[in-house]
């Protein structure tokens, strides 16, 4: 397992998304109200870049005609075919057993910690004064 600095925290404020290349893989990064998510930027269905998907909730119902949008901000809809994935796990809502987006541990850490630790700052200059977004591969 390796840990990578992918951007500074300033570059991924709440409500934004971006991508980063790590070890040849494109990773989609999301900050939803301060919750960070990192997922392989490739839908397991057709290969769409999921960084372009809609972040929303999950439609639930107790029966015909009953609609509730729950857990707003916890789901991603793929931009190509609308498949729904839970951001925190990458699991497909329709097919959780066999279909999932590869997801990665992601967190925010202080630059001060990073310059001491076993992190790989891939083409990324780290300074002590800033915070950074770190993912584990």
């Amino acid at each position: 397992m390796s840990r990578h600095v992918v951007c500074s925290a300033d570059e991924l404020p709440p409500g934004t998304r971006r991508t980063a290349f790590v070890d040849g893989r494109e990773v989609a990064l999301f900050n939803v109200d301060g919750r960070l998510h990192a997922l392989l930027n490739r839908c397991p269905h057709g290969g769409a870049r999921i960084c372009n998907g809609v972040i929303t909730g999950i439609a639930q119902s107790s029966g015909p005609g009953d609609y509730r949008l729950e857990r707003d901000g916890e789901f991603l809809r793929c931009p190509w075919h609308g498949w729904e994935f839970e951001l925190s796990t990458g699991q497909s809502w329709c097919d959780p057993g066999t279909t999932r987006l590869r997801n990665y541990d992601v967190k925010r850490e202080a630059g001060e910690t990073l310059v001491k630790g076993p992190y790989i700052a891939e083409r990324y200059p780290v300074v002590v004064e800033n915070d950074y977004i770190i993912i584990e591969l």
């Binding site: 119902s61 015909p64 009953d66 609308g82 329709c94």
Partner: protein, 366 residues
């Protein structure tokens, strides 16, 4: 192939539709007056999906050699010939295409009472379908309630093509009544011709009309799934009669595929449509649109279950020659389920009867 043993349950057998003269004793004074004095009794009330002289409507050898009475003819040509333990009788009658809701309901009541008196009371192997005019839901529900106490009626009969898709909520009271009384909803090929029987417009030929029926069943399957009928009525089963069967796997796959992306639109569809279909939908075996044993086996494999097939003769429709009433390619285990077990699992009222239970036939029909 031929039936390997006696005791099969025929889930789609047609009795000759009653003439209006035969229905008159089962109409009240008002409707008898209307029918006679408006000369409505001269109307054939034959559904144009099954023109009387079309080859599909009656096999030639059955047409040529009727026994003395209609009952004896059905006994000889179907019940005895195929060694049936039960046969569910479906009467496709033009009453369901009328625009006058009250006349349609009156004629449906008369057809059902005629079926009860002239057939069910004379032949213990026969079971009945409650014919309804679904465009008037309240009268349809009333007819289901009126006959529900008679355990010989095992299902409610509707056509594949009416005014609106069968999943629409306006029909839910009918489904609630059916579920409450342990009745199945049977959907038979046929149209009331409110709309063209093909989605691209009116065809010229009966040949086209008959082929198009399979597409109507596809549309109804998707409607029932999308509208959440089986979430609302989890104990309800639908039986598609004379649908052709082999359209199903493609529809299942396409519905599953589309559901994955379109799921939020109908959030009550809470699992794979194919799972819901396998649990709640049943199909009779005549006709089975597949050319040979390999194609039949492949169709069942792609459906992913052999619980869905119900044996039928579709008598007297000309679907097969001689006594080759079964599609080729059914394994012995699938055959047993198709001939008997699946019907008992589908029809609560047949199951009660088969275990000697409480399917008491009440004589209290008003």
């Amino acid at each position: 192939m031929k039936l390997p043993y006696a005791g099969a349950i025929d889930c789609d057998l047609h009795l000759p539709a009653p003439t209006i003269a035969q229905l008159l004793p089962h109409l009240d004074d008002f409707w008898r007056d209307q029918i006679i004095n408006r000369a409505i009794d001269r109307m054939p009330f034959a559904m144009m999906s099954y023109p009387p002289n079309a080859p599909i409507s009656q096999r030639a050898d059955w047409r040529a050699a009727p026994a003395a009475t209609a009952l004896e003819t059905v006994q000889t040509q179907a019940l005895d010939a195929f060694g049936l333990s039960f046969a569910i009788a479906n009467i496709i009658h033009g009453a369901v295409a009328l625009h006058n809701d009250d006349m349609a309901a009156a004629l449906c009541r008369a057809v059902n009472d005629w079926l009860r008196v002239e057939w069910l009371e004379r032949e213990p192997r026969l079971r009945g379908s409650i014919l309804i005019h679904p465009q008037d839901v309240s009268q349809a529900v009333a007819e289901v309630e009126r006959l529900a106490s008679d355990g010989r009626f095992v299902q409610v009969l509707m056509l594949a093509m009416g005014e609106r898709p069968l999943g629409r909520r306006e029909f839910f009271p009918i489904y609630a009544a059916a579920e409450r009384h342990g009745l199945v909803i049977a959907v038979h090929a046929g149209s009331t011709y409110r709309y063209a029987p093909t989605i691209v417009g009116w065809p010229c030929y009966q040949f086209e009309d008959y082929v198009a029926q399979a597409q109507a069943f596809e549309n109804q399957t998707v409607s029932l799934i999308a509208e959440g009928v089986f979430q609302r009525f989890p104990r309800l089963k639908f039986v598609f009669l004379e649908s052709g069967v082999s359209w199903l796997p493609v529809t299942m796959w396409r519905t599953d595929k589309t559901w994955r992306g379109a799921r939020p639109e109908t959030p009550w569809v809470d699992r794979w449509p194919s799972e819901i279909i396998r649990e709640h939908l049943r199909l009779t075996t005549q006709p089975f649109d597949a050319p040979d044993a390999a194609a039949v086996a492949a169709t069942i494999a792609r459906i992913g279950s052999d619980d869905m097939l119900l044996f039928s003769t579709d008598y007297p429709h000309w679907q097969f020659e001689a006594d080759d009433v079964l599609p080729e390619g059914l394994s012995p285990a699938t055959l047993r389920k198709t001939l008997i077990d699946n019907a008992l699992a589908t029809y609560p009222r047949l199951a009660q009867e088969a275990i000697g239970g409480a399917a008491a036939i009440e004589e209290t029909i008003r």
